[in-house]
Amino acid sequence: MRKYLLKRIFYMILTLFLVATLTFFLMKLMPGTPFTNQQKMTAEQIQIVNEQYGLNKPIWQQYLLYLAGMVHGDFGTSFQFSNQPVSYLIASRIGASAQLGVQAMIFGVFFGIIIGSVAAINRNTWIDTTATVLSIIGKSVPNFVLAVLLQYYIALKLGWLPVADWNGFVYTILPTIALGVGPLAETSRFVRTGMVDVLNSDYIELARAKGLSKFGIVYHHALRNSLIPLVTLIGPYTVALMTGSMVIENIFSIPGIGEQFVKSITTNDYPTIMGVTMLFSTGLVLVILLTDIIYGIIDPRIRLTGGSGE
């Protein structure tokens, strides 16, 4: 196990290094300068400012300087926000995105499991069909459409919840639902498929034959086993949600990181692009490692001995 972990961590660092390198060079291929006022500056002015920011150095030097800074946890200063360190920018905006992502995931997985289980137990009845149709709708209606509808009807027309902003739990409800419907639909499909398989297996037959209650069978035997495939899904999904949804953040005026990331790319804000990319990829590789470890714990068929069983 320890050897396996060490190996995995080594690969993780390698992956992150490759991501940093690729992103850096791809980013430098984008045309233009990071200066917001580029259009109004003459070529000479741009050259002068470039020198001051060290952007006139050869790219490989910039790259090495960048790597060195990153190792020390220094991502540089944002071009969009004058004087603002990227680490502060990320720190001040990741919280809202993370909270929203986790809430959406909890909401989605919780109701997804319920709907999926109910559908599986009542498979091939109208309940199952309804659940399937709802999941397909949930999966195919873009979340921003849902967000706009929720905002208009629930917040503006009915006045039950705030239209937008981020000042406490009530403000998170509508965006959570809008963002959570996707994972909800996905989870319910996964759980249904998994549970239909499990419900047909021999040991469930045995449990039934023993006279266990229907609830007991589903809760104690079927549900757990049908959730295993879900573990693969949840990890990366959570990272994706936590790192921000630009559209949902914009609609509900949430101070998250999603929009900032997109904006940093269109404005050539190099330090922010690198900072946020590295944050996302670190989150992702960590979650993948965690998922694999959890897998080993909950499913004894998978062994984490490193190498041999592939």
Partner: protein
């Protein structure tokens, strides 16, 4: 159906939690007093006036800081910190006497030295100010920015605490107007030193000397407040207690908040603007920018170079554009242009620049004339047809524009084949710089309320003149306005009117629309000053009618 119960239970739990939490949500923090809730389209990027680069920063700086002058209604210069101003006969030396007893929000006195410090800080190459070029024309500024002279050589001197002497290299007729722009405001050295790297990155890392103080801004958040500044010298004139700013990136959200009474203003999308046009809270604001087509007269392709250098071909293209229907396509974001200088940007003694000698040529639509000029032009360059591209941005709005131009030009001019290229903003700028285009839609926003801000970019030596249109007569008039006629406002305007006429008669560029924006604004908000150029809103005298 025993298990269905759990599903039901779940639904009940979810619903009740929704309802329960909803009860606590009505907490409209409308504090008593004169307070306005305003919409902003994006974050406030920074409050360091030496480094600010955007409209939002400039607007907040303009309301929380004060320079020698303030810009009032119709870009009129109003008194700020300068109590008395003497200008030398040649217009090159300004002596300002500062108002006595003005204070920073920390209680320190605002002195002439604060101006000297601030200006030197901005032109200091170490500061890397993107707006340092505004100092062009002030003695030695350009050389200092390039690092060839030390900052203390800048043409600004403090004579005691209350006297400021500014020396220019050439007369700048709109110098007082510039003094109302935040890059020329004073800064407190004590504050810059005290806050160091954090200076201007959050509301607490700043000192203010304007009508308002900034509060509640953390540097990256989506709401902040302009709070009345009790230390402001003219605080009696300030009627508002606070302006609450909220960032909404979606205009639908802003409008919903406006409808629910949380905001006193909201920008409108095209669709919304169409629907709400006749409402009494509907407001249309002219922008300070004109979009225009540039023709690449220096193309690497010989045929293209010949075509775009041909006046008749340029005129034919321009005349085939139906600007009225184009601006309808764009919607509330555009109106028909009145020339290269935006409508309502600048006026002399109350008369708008565009009304001085209204432009006819260069922006008219005439399909018949266009066809005639087109065939003559093609004959002159020995071609039967011409394929050229229009380069534009890749936003939805910009795509609509390029497509409309494409269809208008192709359907009018026989043998014209137009391809459209929609690229990201930064790519468009780069391709303009390198001359990699046939025609390009450029947009230029005036920095200050003077026509020169829009016209000088077409001088043959100007870096913005991507099409390399060169006309000695045009250059001559621009130059006259800067030199011989600089101290004579009437003559100077006459030069600029003539320059624009030359530009458009020769179709050096083809203006296609003037930017605008549609808003709904609570009619109770009174005396708010909006100016298209420079800083948009001046809240000093505004109030909300009870």
């Amino acid at each position: 159906m025993k298990l269905g119960k759990y599903a039901k239970l779940g639904a009940v739990v979810a619903l009740s939690s929704l309802v329960l939490t909803a009860c606590g949500s009505k907490d409209n923090d409308k504090t008593a007093g004169n307070v306005v809730n305003w919409d902003e389209s994006g974050e406030l990027p920074g409050m360091d006036l030496s480094k600010a680069t955007d409209q939002i920063s400039f607007t907040m700086l303009g309301n929380t800081m004060e320079g020698l002058y303030r810009i009032g209604k119709d870009s009129k210069v109003e008194p700020g910190l300068a109590k008395k101003t003497e200008v030398s006969k040649d217009g090159k030396v300004y002596t300002f006497t500062l108002r006595k007893g003005t204070k920073w929000s920390n209680g320190d006195k605002v002195t002439a030295q604060d101006f000297v410090y601030s200006w030197r800080r901005t032109v200091d190459p170490k500061t890397a100010s993107q707006y340092a070029y505004f100092f062009n024309g002030i003695k030695n500024a350009d050389k200092i920015i390039e690092g060839k002279l030390p900052v203390d050589q800048l043409g600004i001197k403090a004579d005691g605490e209350d006297k400021l002497v500014v020396t220019l290299e050439r007369p700048i007729p709109y110098f007082k107007l510039l003094m109302g722009f935040p890059v020329f405001f004073p800064q407190s050295k004590a504050a810059v030193d005290k806050f160091g790297d954090k200076y201007g990155t959050a509301s607490k890392y700043m000192v203010y000397n304007g009508p308002f103080k900034l509060e509640g801004w953390t540097g990256t958040n989506l709401s902040w407040k302009l709070q009345k500044n009790d230390k402001y010298w003219d605080k009696k004139a300030v009627k508002l207690d606070a302006v609450n700013y909220k960032v909404n990136k979606s205009s639908t959200t802003a409008y919903n908040q406006y409808k629910s009474g949380e905001l006193d203003a909201s920008p409108l999308s095209n669709e919304q603007a169409k629907q709400l046009k006749n409402q009494k809270d509907f407001v249309e604001r002219e922008g300070a920018a004109v979009a225009y087509l540039q023709f690449n007269q220096d193309s690497k392709d010989a045929t293209m170079k010949a075509a775009m250098s041909n006046k008749k071909i340029r005129q034919a293209i321009s005349m085939s554009i139906n600007r009225k229907s184009l601006s309808k396509v764009i919607g509330s974001g555009a109106r028909v242009p009145k020339g290269m200088v935006p409508d309502k940007l600048a006026n002399l003694n109350g008369k708008d620049f565009v009304e001085m000698d209204p432009v006819v040529n260069g922006i008219k639509h005439d399909d018949k004339e266009a066809k005639k000029l087109w065939s003559e032009g093609l004959k002159e360059i020995g071609q039967k047809e011409l394929t050229f591209s229009i380069l534009g941005d890749d936003t939805d709005g910009s795509k609509k524009i390029t497509e409309t131009l494409q269809s208008q030009i192709e359907s009018t001019l026989p043998g014209a084949h137009v391809t459209v290229q929609n690229v990201p903003f930064k790519t468009r700028l780069q391709r303009c710089d390198t001359g990699n285009f046939d025609t390009v839609i450029s947009i230029w926003g005036a920095d200050y309320a003077d026509p020169i801000s829009c016209l000088e970019i077409m001088e043959s030596t100007n870096g913005q003149n991507a099409g390399h249109w060169a006309n000695s007569e045009f250059d001559k008039y621009i130059n006259l306005s800067r030199t011989v006629d600089a101290n004579n406002p009437t003559k100077r305007w006459d030069d600029l009117v003539k320059a624009q006429k030359v530009l458009l008669d020769d179709q050096g560029v083809a203006p296609i629309y003037q930017q605008a924006s549609a808003w709904v604004v609570n009619p109770k908000v009174k005396d708010l000053v909006y100016n298209a150029a420079g800083l948009n809103y001046n809240w000093k005298n505004a109030y909300i009618e009870k």
